[in-house]
């Protein structure tokens, strides 16, 4: 009886002693899961895209270092996401694995502007007016310019959700493109598809 009553003290409390922090690989499916866009999807998709971009002739056989700007992906799914994270990871993967064969530029305008752009513009203005310089040979007053881009890297996420009494299913199509800014030609495009489905506990149906 005493044992039973003592047991009541923590009744209804899930994991009363807590759950130790579990370190996981970002490409591993955790025990907190839904049908939405998760870290393992991000890793799988961006790894595939980075590998795919490195191999194209426009990058692999380019005479110099092609410069690329990132344009935010369009989210056309039902999942609100932090959109920059896809391109940030592709950029990091390319910088890490392409051995300097491609370089990225900070860019953007209007609502899509990179917040660092304002600081860069201010610095360029100071150099252009001769107020500051880091290298007098390069910082010629009046001619200091930002580097122009050769390509734009962007993408789109599209989704197809379905929900019935049998459960919920979400298909997400990830497409990324590299666009030549001089010709508007899409020089590279690749896709990844992920479909997930699940059925919730009956208490929530």
């Amino acid at each position: 009886m005493v044992v039973l009553l003592a047991g009541c003290a923590s009744s209804g409390v899930r994991n009363p002693s807590g759950v130790p922090v579990t370190e996981m690989r970002p490409d591993e499916r955790g025990f907190v899961a839904g049908t939405g866009i998760e870290s393992q999807d991000l890793v799988a998709v961006t790894d595939k895209m980075a590998r795919s971009i490195i191999g194209i002739p426009e990058i692999a056989n380019a005479p110099g270092k092609p410069s690329v700007i990132l344009y935010p992906v369009e989210n056309n799914t039902r999942f609100p996401i932090q959109k920059d994270i896809f391109l940030s990871r592709i950029r990091a993967e390319l910088n890490s694995k392409a051995q300097g064969r491609v370089m990225f530029l900070i860019r953007g305008a209007g609502a899509q502007a990179d917040p660092r752009m304002a600081a860069l513009e201010r610095e360029r203005e100071l150099k252009a007016t001769g107020q500051v310089t880091s290298d007098p040979a390069k910082d010629t007053p009046g001619v200091t310019q930002f580097k122009g881009a050769d390509y734009i890297l962007t993408g789109k996420l599209e989704g197809l959700p379905h929900r019935t009494s049998q459960g919920i299913s979400d298909y997400v199509l990830y497409t990324f493109q590299l666009i030549d800014v001089r010709t508007s030609v899409i020089v590279w495009e690749d896709k990844a598809e992920i479909k997930k489905q699940g059925l919730e506990d009956a208490a929530y149906r």
Partner: protein
């Protein structure tokens, strides 16, 4: 001797069960300090209240924060709530308990009924639109619509007019084709036929008014979840800014949405619990009466006591069975959702908002609103509510 031992065992088991059922209320007492300010009280409830009610308080407090213009707080609360309701719940202890005979449905972590989950996504979508993230706003409106897609009768599935309309408008503004979404909105329209979307409209007004539905439990053991429609003295909103007069009629009625979802799987489980409770109670009554009758005779006393103890045990099991439906409710929702979009050149404008009753007459409630059109790259989003909390 064996019979006496068994009888004692049954009585001891009955007492133990009684003790265990007492545990039901060890968690979840709303005993945190109250100030009367719904925002502060909500924040305290989230921090100190039962974890299973956390999402409920996040919903309520986020609505209050949004109405007060405390947008960062509303964002934070809704993001956390959506993390909980956005997952697929499996192998969850609270959910398992809610399905079990001896725990109430309210043991589960609150996610809310579809109309409540819809509103969490809807409010978050408005906040994304305020931040200029139209595609994430659209994602929220789509997720909201999906919450309403598993209705018992298919004609009521995913039938929020405003959600489809906003999906279409966001798509159009993003350079896409919103025509399918607009067509769906038109087809679903019951209260008001929305105007065609204008991609150049840069001032968006979201309005809400009236009181949303509340929940009640009916049936012999309160096992049937029902909705009590809220009331609204207002039927529309009139917004006046410069020489523009905009009437906002209701696109959607939350009372209608709550009552057209149909039966839940959980209702079936609660029905089974009610039958079990009723049966064990009847068996207990028969056992007790029969047992006591037998116990009054010397030659059948021991058998009678055993039967009475079994009857008592059955009664206790019946008493411990909890088929009551979960009536926790997002209680500060509106009845009607409305929207309008129009064009204004850059500048700061003083506007007035009047709530109109069913006859179209303005009420005595007039609210001043400042519309600041400053960012050419971002829509100016105004949120109007007849509630202050």
């Amino acid at each position: 001797m064996v019979t006496v031992t068994r009888t004692r065992f049954l009585l001891a088991a009955a007492v133990a069960l009684l003790a265990l059922t007492g545990c039901e209320t060890t968690q979840g007492r709303a005993n945190w300090p109250r100030t009367g300010d719904p925002l502060l009280d909500g924040q305290t409830a989230i921090a100190q209240g039962p974890p299973r009610d956390r999402v409920l308080w996040q919903y309520r407090t986020a609505a209050t924060a949004l109405r007060r213009g405390e947008l960062a707080e509303a964002r934070r609360l809704l993001d956390d709530a959506l993390l909980t309701i956005g997952g697929v719940v499996v192998n969850d202890r609270g959910a398992r308990q809610a399905r079990s005979m001896f725990h109430a449905e309210s043991k589960k972590t609150f996610h809310g009924e579809p109309y409540e989950r819809v509103m969490a996504y809807y409010y978050r979508g408005i906040l994304y639109w305020m931040d200029g993230e139209l595609d994430n706003a659209r994602a929220c409106f789509r997720s909201a619509q999906l919450q309403d897609s598993d209705t018992e009768r298919k004609e009521y599935a995913a039938d929020y007019v405003l959600l489809d309309y906003l999906d279409g408008l966001a798509s159009m503004k993003l350079g896409g084709d919103g025509s399918d979404a607009f067509k769906r909105a038109e087809a679903e329209a019951r209260l008001y036929r929305p105007l065609p979307g204008d991609a150049q409209a840069n001032v968006l007004v979201f309005a809400e008014f009236g009181n949303g539905p509340s929940k009640l439990a009916t049936g012999e053991y309160a096992e049937q979840l029902r909705f009590h429609p809220g009331t609204s003295v207002y039927r529309a909103v009139m917004l006046r800014v410069t020489n523009i007069v905009v009437r906002l009629d209701p696109f959607d009625d939350l009372n209608f949405q709550a009552t057209t979802r149909g039966g839940r799987v959980m209702d079936h489980i609660l029905g089974n619990k009610a039958v079990f409770k009723s049966t064990t109670d009847a068996v207990g009554t028969v056992g007790l009466i029969g047992g006591l009758a037998l116990a009054s005779r010397k030659d059948t006393r021991e058998a009678g006591l055993g039967l009475a103890a079994a009857g008592l045990l059955s009664k206790i099991i019946s008493a411990a069975t909890t088929p009551a439906a979960d009536t926790r409710c997002w209680d500060n929702l509106p009845a009607f959702l409305s929207f309008s979009a129009f064009r204004l050149p850059p500048g700061q404008y003083g506007a007035t908002v009047e709530f109109l009753d069913g006859a179209g007459s303005p009420s005595t409630v007039t609210k001043p609103v400042t519309i600041n059109v400053s960012d050419a790259n971002r829509d100016t989003v105004i949120f109007i509510s007849d509630k202050n909390n």
